[in-house]
């Protein structure tokens, strides 16, 4: 019996060591990034390395704003992310309601079509999308980007699955009372779907904030760049200003980190569900 508890204790210590080691591996690049962003340039790759800056240089942060229109990138990214998310929530909840609570011919076939398209890689559709946006005269505009982000089969899928779990009797009862479908959607179904909506909102906001490929293809003037595009261009142009790159990257992560800390469960559930999307 005694050896068993000793064995258990050793096992527990071993488990804790692995848990902490993995956590350290996950956190190390982030910690190194933040501390590096406060170092003078010549200290970043100094031998032997020191994790903490010897001389703190917070001016790296203000220098980023001098070198590139970083504040503008922030505003652009927030604008695109907010409107894309809003557009998705509106179009997807309307469609999801039709798929989950209305009867019409070809409903299931149409839904299958939505599902089937989730497997198509972006590389197939990006060229015609670029052509479409160009023909609409929306190249190099945020509106073009927002339009592209507004319609995802995934959002329809996520909300529809959730709405199916709301009993039809709720909807029927409201119909007998004479409520229109718009009222039923906004007064009954959506208030009951808040957790699915929150998942969709966090996920879409994150997707759009972190998106690189679409802005790269669609935007050409620097003042319209989003954060990811701006950071990448910064690296191309000022490749040796490593500490500034670290400062810029740190700043680009702050909003997402704050949301993550407060809405962790929605993020985790959303991304776990988003696995279908790839």
């Amino acid at each position: 019996m005694k050896t068993k508890t000793l064995g258990n204790k050793i096992l527990l210590v071993l488990i804790l060591i692995i848990l902490v080691a993995l956590a350290a591996a996950m956190l190390f690049p982030f910690i190194w990034m933040v501390l590096g962003s406060f170092k003078p340039k010549d200290e970043l790759f100094a031998v032997p390395m020191s994790l903490l800056p010897v001389r703190w240089k917070p001016s790296n942060y203000s220098d980023v704003f001098i070198k590139i229109p970083f504040a503008k990138y922030y505003v652009n990214t927030a604008k695109v992310a907010i409107f894309s998310t809003l557009g998705q929530v509106i179009t997807c909840s309307l469609s999801a309601y039709a798929f989950a609570k209305l009867q019409f011919k070809g409903r299931d076939a149409l839904f299958m079509l939505y599902l089937a398209t989730m497997m198509i890689p972006y590389q197939v559709t990006m060229i015609p999308q670029y052509e479409l946006i160009r023909n609409m005269g929306l190249l190099d505009s945020h509106l073009g980007l927002i339009l592209l982000h507004c319609f995802s089969p995934f959002g329809v899928f996520l909300l529809r699955q959730f709405m199916l779990s709301i009993p039809d009797s709720f909807v029927e009862a409201a119909r007998i009372e004479g409520a229109s479908d718009t009222t039923i959607l906004t007064r009954i179904v959506l208030p009951l779907s808040t957790s699915a909506l929150a998942t969709l909102v966090t996920l879409k906001f994150l997707d759009s904030w972190n998106d690189y490929t679409a802005p790269m293809i669609m935007l050409s003037s620097k003042m319209k760049y989003t954060l990811q595009l701006g950071l990448r261009t910064f690296q191309q142009e000022f490749g040796v200003e490593y500490t500034l790159i670290l400062a810029g990257t740190t700043m680009s992560l702050i909003p997402i980190l704050i949301i993550y800390i407060f809405a962790q469960n929605y993020f985790i559930e959303g991304i776990a569900a988003g696995g279908v999307k790839g």
Binding site: I15, I18, L19, L22, A23, A25, M26, L27, F28, P29, F30, W32, G36, F45, A46, V47, M49, T91, C92, S95, Y97, A98, L102, Q103, F104, K105, L110, I120, P121, Y122, Q123, V124, T125, M126, I127, P128, Q129, L132, F151, V156, D181, L185, Y212, T213, Q228, L231, R232, Q235, Y242, I245, L246, T249, L253, Y260, Q264, F267, I268, A272, G275, G278
Partner: protein, 298 residues
């Protein structure tokens, strides 16, 4: 009776109208930006379109030309290699993480938060930071030197280690994602099964092999399919870390498509490559779904 039938069909008609009205906003966007582009891309892949006026029908010429294009072959090869290395390893580490997180320890949720952190971070940010972590005198090499490795790899600047570098970062990022999904699977396993295994005299390893793995197999299958699809599409991390280089060492399919279209303006050729990519994803997914009968336990 007749009356009732009539009113039902009127009711159905009104539902159909409402449905159309509700579907329309998303449907227009879906047809325009998702469905139409697939057909348009198929057409473009049969032409020599350069993005502007020039657009002659060339039949399947692009598809044939791709297979004699050494860069395409290398990018196909790299994509397959990348998939073969990253998918099993990120799932194996994911299982390990999930098992650890399934322990009933105080504060275990903190680890979940930390393990999932790379998943919410943009690939560009991760790529920028990691390419500095992997620099010649970056922290990783300094640790290796401190551990006695006198000649650490040059990582992303060497042809030999560039793909490995990208693979390491990719596994680092995705294992927490797999772990979260696998953890949900683990928590769904009935404790009675472990009790029964114990009564039959199974040790911890045996019950892992004969209870955990079979019961977790549908979740593992899900991770396998989704990870494989996303690894065939790898792009952002390549742009941020290596831009396909050095030379063509980390050129992958998605990067090839991007390069041929928006850099070289060979949109027809690029579309053909994109369709081959699509076909590969479908074939591999179909193989997975066929193979699941042999090992997935529903």
């Amino acid at each position: 009776m007749m009356q009732r039938k009539k009113s039902t069909s009127a009711y159905m008609r009104s539902q159909r109208k409402t449905a159309l009205f509700f579907l329309l906003p998303n449907l227009i966007g879906f047809l325009l930006f998702v469905v139409y582009p697939v057909f348009r891309a198929a057409l473009i892949s049969l032409t020599n379109w350069n993005g502007f006026k020039q657009m002659d029908f060339v039949g399947f010429y692009n598809y044939g030309a791709l297979f004699s294009d050494s860069t395409f072959r290398i990018s196909l090869n790299n994509t397959l290699l990348y998939t073969i290395v990253t998918v099993p390893l990120s799932i194996a580490f994911g299982i390990l993480m999930a098992l650890l997180m399934n322990m009933k320890l105080p504060g275990i949720k903190v680890f979940r938060t930390i393990y999932f952190l790379p998943q919410i971070t943009s690939m560009i940010a991760i790529g920028l930071v990691w390419s500095l972590v992997l620099a010649k005198y970056g922290p990783l090499n300094q640790i290796l030197i401190a551990l006695g490795n006198t000649n650490p790899p040059k990582w992303i600047s060497s042809t030999k280690y560039a793909l490995t570098s990208v693979e390491i970062v990719s596994i680092w990022r995705s294992m927490g994602y797999n772990a979260i999904i696998l953890l949900a699977g683990l928590q769904g396993i009935d404790a009675v099964l472990y009790e029964a295994a114990k009564l039959d005299g199974a040790n911890a390893f045996q019950s892992f092999l004969h209870v955990t793995i079979p019961m977790l197999s549908p979740t593992i299958f899900f991770c396998l399919v989704t990870q494989m699809i996303s690894s065939f599409k790898v792009f952002d991390i390549i742009i941020a870390m290596t831009q396909g280089g050095p030379g063509r060492a980390t050129n992958v399919l998605a990067y090839f498509v991007y390069n041929k279209s928006f850099v070289d303006s060979r949109f027809g050729y690029a579309s053909a490559a994109a369709f081959i990519m699509f076909a590969i994803i479908m074939v591999f997914t179909a193989i997975q779904f066929r193979g699941q009968k042999k090992w997935v336990n529903y």
